[in-house]
């Protein structure tokens, strides 16, 4: 008997019904760790060899001390920096965060388009939709974290405006 059959509801929600049965990934980190969840890298027309992109995700710090994201590395890019977006002269611009991004004790910080991000510049390979790259997050006050399956997601907007503009000058 085909394995899918028993998972059918009282209508044809079959294949997706299987997916609904997937157990949720356990969400709670053990006490006292730094964890990165829901991470991804932007795939766009800019994320080709020589170009740039950014890595996003949620960093959760359940230790008793602040930790600081000071940088990172990946085979996919020549330069990796921790960036923030801010209003400069009435325009949203991104710049490196002096001293890195603080994740206060017991809190989460989300890296998202239009906000803080781990910037990848001078890409050595194309970052494609549905492909994965490995990224190391460099922390002060905690172990570094290596994510081996950061998936490329098609995304618009966010920091793109700036990328095409003054990016090169500021960095």
């Amino acid at each position: 008997m085909p394995p899918a059959a028993d998972n059918l509801g009282n209508d044809m929600r079959k294949i997706a019904a299987l997916l609904t049965l997937l157990p949720l990934l356990a969400g709670c980190a053990p006490q006292g760790t730094v964890e990165i969840t829901d991470y991804w890298v932007k795939s766009s027309e800019m994320s080709t060899q020589g170009g740039m992109t950014a890595v996003y995700g949620t960093i959760t710090n359940t230790t008793g001390d602040d930790v600081v994201l000071i940088g990172g590395s990946t085979d996919a890019a020549g330069v990796v920096e921790v960036h923030q977006m801010s209003m400069i002269g009435g325009e949203m611009k991104m710049q490196e965060i002096d001293g890195g991004l603080v994740i206060p004790a017991g809190q989460s910080v989300t890296l998202e388009p239009g906000g803080d991000h781990l910037m990848l510049m001078m890409l050595k390979t194309d970052v494609v939709a549905g492909g994965t790259i490995e990224v190391l997050f460099d922390f002060e006050g905690a172990e570094d974290i290596i994510l081996s399956d950061v998936v490329g997601k098609p995304a618009e907007g966010g920091d793109e405006e700036y990328h095409s503009g003054e990016m090169e000058m500021d960095n």
Partner: protein, 319 residues
């Protein structure tokens, strides 16, 4: 294709549990699962484009044309189908946007056809839904979960990727309600062979009563007429059955008020050549319902079997 399926698999599993997808620009719209579900199907044209014809399940291919067809390109064909359903329209719209966004590096949108069934709770559990002609629609279906259903719907052999999967025939069928509405109740019931009130066969009392196709009126005429839809569509042998899952659609009415409604008619089966096609041929020959229904869109898709955690939809097909 595999990268595309990787993204869709992750998106669908998150949406089905009511979570925002990765990189969701509007995560606040992930307000709940609302029985969100989606599956992906592949049309004959995709197999051709990728040179994967040898991976097509048995009996699968472009449908022949039928006399009743008045097919329009804008509602027909397609390389890849994403069939998305949810009980809440906001959840549906948000989920659809995400799945389309993650598909754009790989494809463009050929059509999007939206349909609906009853609001949950409107029809008591166990009662079949009504289509926009007023008929109880979906009665004589194999019962999901039954051995019978498994045999009608799920593919057991052929290429590995399709085992546990199925074949979908999708038809957009317009209803001519203005002329249908001119019929009296008795005539409408004869066209189908079932009662409008509760969907019982004209030879029975309850919806689930088996129709008696041999029963005759005292005057000698069959109670379920020779032209009746269920007489023509009912199985003539052990194989020509399928699982029908119709949704209604409604587009804007014309300026004179003529409604633009019908069915997004879907049928799932192991082998469309043995199941859908012979039935449609019989209906093409004779079925009084054809006077008020016109197929205006048509497509067929092969649907991969269900997956477990860590697997990717149709992985074996595209690896």
């Amino acid at each position: 294709m595999l990268r595309w399926m990787t993204l869709l698999t992750d998106d669908i599993s998150r949406l089905a549990s009511g979570e925002p997808i990765l990189a969701d620009p509007n995560p606040e719209l992930a307000i709940g699962a609302a029985r969100f579900s989606a599956y992906v199907g592949f049309g004959p044209s995709l197999f051709r484009k990728l040179g994967l014809e040898s991976q097509m399940p048995s009996g699968f291919g472009p449908l022949p044309s039928f006399k009743v067809d008045q097919l329009q390109d804008q509602f027909s064909g397609g390389d890849v189908l994403i069939h998305i359903a949810a009980d809440d329209p906001i959840v549906l719209s948000h989920g659809t946007r995400g799945l389309i966004r993650d598909s754009l590096p790989f494809a463009s949108v050929r059509y999007s056809q939206s349909g609906f069934a009853h609001t949950p709770g409107m029809v008591p559990a166990g009662l079949t839904h009504r289509n926009l002609m007023g008929q109880v629609d979906g009665t004589a279906n194999p019962k999901p979960g039954s051995e019978d259903f498994n045999e009608v719907v799920w593919i057991e052999d052929g290429p590995a990727w399709i085992q546990g999967g199925t074949q979908l025939v999708f038809r957009r069928i317009a209803m001519q309600l203005n002329t249908w509405d001119q019929l009296g109740t008795a005539s409408k019931e004869e066209v189908i062979g079932r009662k409008l009130s509760n969907g019982a066969p004209l030879t029975g009392v309850n919806e689930e009563d088996a129709p008696d196709f041999a029963a005759r009126h005292p005057n000698g005429l069959t109670v379920i007429p020779d032209f009746a839809h269920i007489r023509r569509a009912s199985p003539q042998n052990v194989t020509d059955r399928m699982f029908r899952r119709p949704f209604s659609y409604e587009a804007s009415p014309a300026s004179d008020g003529t409604p633009d409604v019908g069915l997004l008619w879907t049928a799932y089966q192991r082998d469309m050549t043995k199941q859908f096609i012979p039935v449609q041929r019989r209906l093409d020959e004779l079925d009084l319902l054809n006077e008020w229904t016109v197929p205006i869109g048509s497509a067929e898709f092969a649907i991969a079997g269900g997956i477990a955690r860590g697997e990717i939809i149709a992985q074996a097909l595209f690896s």
